[in-house]
């Protein structure tokens, strides 16, 4: 009994390796020979494929349904609201796999003999399709709630071998001990959160605290070694900034960091919300959670969202609410560690490009994975 189990488990592993193109040339030949000669092996393989195809189909279908309902809601329910600027990935996971899957399924129905004669060819096609997909998982970005006409969200490849996240956005460091802030609407119901940038590479992050009503979440990066010896560039402004002040932001609407600038256009946000500023920076999905800075590089807010009905109108949560969120923490040790610097900015007087160089290591692409 146990030996059968062991064999089945070995076979399942072999199937996966074959499908993912992880077998050597010799192993592949051996595998294909066994497919031709061993009926029960071929049968088990067919079932394995069918199962995985259907898992894919199930996931793709539910993604597509979500997107269509969202479009419907947005296009045919006339209401203006704030669009959170997170990105949701719709991954084109399968491509041509399905057509092949159909033929494989048909073969399976017709019978094993067909599998054995024509199977070699079909199976080979099958495996190629899947291997391609693995190497080239095109992450097509669907902006979560963005009804932004003309915002063509381009297909892009994920970093290295990282799985494409469900949602991506921006976050920035609160100090150089690993604490950072991002938008609550992005990480809501997150299963896991990772941060990446050119300085830190990639690290998992753990939730410290969140304030849904302010749309703030504070996380801590697990591996902070790359940041701890760098000069921490930010200082946080306690008082409100003035209308007309020049402001700028850095964020990850794409895989690469993007700079945006504009002015503070109102001291209240959407529906006169006093916790927010209105800004005239064209912000895009993925900018959520990014830092809003004044000319001297002081943090004055956290990018939150944009208005559906207006172009280039963004909103940011005022920086004093970051402090308020930290002050409400119960754990005194963390609270101590999280004391925000309100000293004079270390970026004052520097050219913008110089400021950005110093800031960049402390702004992260936040990747959110959901269950």
């Amino acid at each position: 009994m146990n030996r059968i189990k062991e064999r089945d488990m070995r076979n399942a592993e072999l199937f996966d390796k074959y499908l993912f193109g992880e077998l050597s040339v010799e192993q592949k030949i051996e595998f294909e020979t066994q497919l031709k000669n061993d009926i029960s092996f071929a049968d088990a393989y067919q079932k394995h494929i069918k199962l995985i195809q259907t898992i894919h189909a199930h996931e793709q279908r539910s993604d597509l349904k979500k997107i269509l309902s969202k479009i419907h809601r947005q296009e045919f329910a006339n209401e203006t609201k704030i669009i959170p600027l997170k990105e949701e990935t719709f991954i084109k996971k399968h491509g041509r796999t399905f057509a092949v899957a159909a033929s494989v399924a048909v073969v399976a129905v017709i019978g094993t003999i067909m599998v054995l004669s024509a199977g070699g060819y079909l199976l080979k096609q099958q495996s190629n399709a899947i291997t391609d997909l693995k190497r080239d998982v095109t992450g097509l970005k669907y902006s979560q709630d963005a009804i932004i006409e003309g915002l063509k969200v381009a297909a892009r490849k994920p970093h290295k071998n990282y799985a494409p996240a469900n949602i991506e956005g921006t976050g920035f460091a609160l100090n150089n001990k690993g604490y950072f802030i991002t938008s609550y609407h992005m990480v809501k119901n997150a299963d896991s959160v990772f941060v990446t940038n050119n300085t830190i590479g990639r690290s998992v992050a753990k939730l410290v605290t969140s304030n849904p009503s302010l749309d703030i979440a504070i996380y801590k990066i697990e591996d902070n070694s790359a940041l701890k010896d760098l000069l921490f560039p930010f200082s946080f402004k306690d008082n409100t900034s003035d209308i007309g002040d020049k402001v700028f932001t850095l964020g990850y609407p794409r895989r690469d960091i993007v700079y945006g600038e504009g002015a503070l256009s109102s001291s209240t946000g959407f529906n006169n919300d006093t916790t927010m500023y209105q800004i005239s920076i064209p912000v895009n999905p993925g900018n959520s959670g990014g830092p809003l800075m004044d000319e001297h590089g002081n943090i004055i807010g956290v990018i939150r969202g944009k208005q559906t009905s207006a172009e280039a109108t963004g909103f940011a949560i005022k920086s004093n609410f970051i402090k308020q969120t930290i002050d409400s923490l119960k754990d005194e040790t963390i609270k101590d560690e999280l004391t925000l610097s309100s000293k004079k900015s270390k970026l004052k007087g520097l050219k913008r490009s110089e400021q950005i160089k110093k800031i960049q290591p402390f702004v992260f692409n936040v990747m959110v994975y959901k269950k």
């Binding site: 199930h58 269509l68 399968h94 399905f98 693995k134 915002l151």
Partner: protein, 186 residues
């Protein structure tokens, strides 16, 4: 700014690429056509939206086929699929009595696409039940491995297994159970 109009071919190309802007434009363009048909034939807005979304799914999946070629206007295709889907629903509910739309409506034969769609629909439904039966963490674990392509190391970290080998054994057990539910259900 986005384009205001697309040709049929541009729509199809966009769907092939899963371009969300094109998908949205397409969705907007033909909704009223289907809405009108469903509402005129004893349906309401909600039913129309459901039928329309299923129609778009059929179209989306049809154009992904390697040798897909559209043999009629896109509008005709959408109308035909929507009509068939709605009639099927009415028939299932035993409500198919009289149709307000004229029979000479221009309709193309979409039986093949629909048969395929319904077959797939049945498989997906079965998978849905099987995954629900399977529960957590198994169903997320399998999706992480097969769909999101997480490595065994990442899975082991995410689910808190002591090492990748351990995670591999768990994955195998999950897969076996899923196989049982999926192939043994009716």
């Amino acid at each position: 700014m986005s384009k205001v109009t697309y040709t049929d071919l541009e729509f199809i190309e966009g769907l092939k690429q899963s371009d969300d802007v094109v998908l949205r434009a397409l969705y907007k363009k033909y909704y009223n056509l289907v809405l009108k048909y469903v509402v005129n034939n004893s349906g309401d807005n909600q039913a129309a939206a459901d039928v329309y979304q299923d129609t778009i799914i059929v179209l989306y999946e049809t154009v992904q086929k390697p040798h897909f070629q559209l043999n009629c206007q896109l509008q005709t295709f959408i109308y035909s699929v929507a009509k068939r889907l709605w009639l099927k629903q009415l028939r299932n509910k035993g409500q198919l009595t009289r149709l307000n739309s004229e029979e000479e409506d221009e309709v193309v034969d979409v039986s093949e696409e629909l048969t395929e769609h319904l077959q797939k629909e049945a498989d997906i439904k079965k998978m849905n039940d099987s995954l629900e039966n399977l529960g957590e963490p198994c169903s997320t674990l399998l999706k992480d491995f097969y769909v999101h392509k997480l490595s065994m190391e990442e899975i082991s970290e995410k689910f808190g297994y002591t090492n990748a080998d351990n995670a591999k054994t768990q994955k195998y057990k999950c897969l076996q159970r899923l196989k049982r539910y999926f192939f043994e259900s009716n």
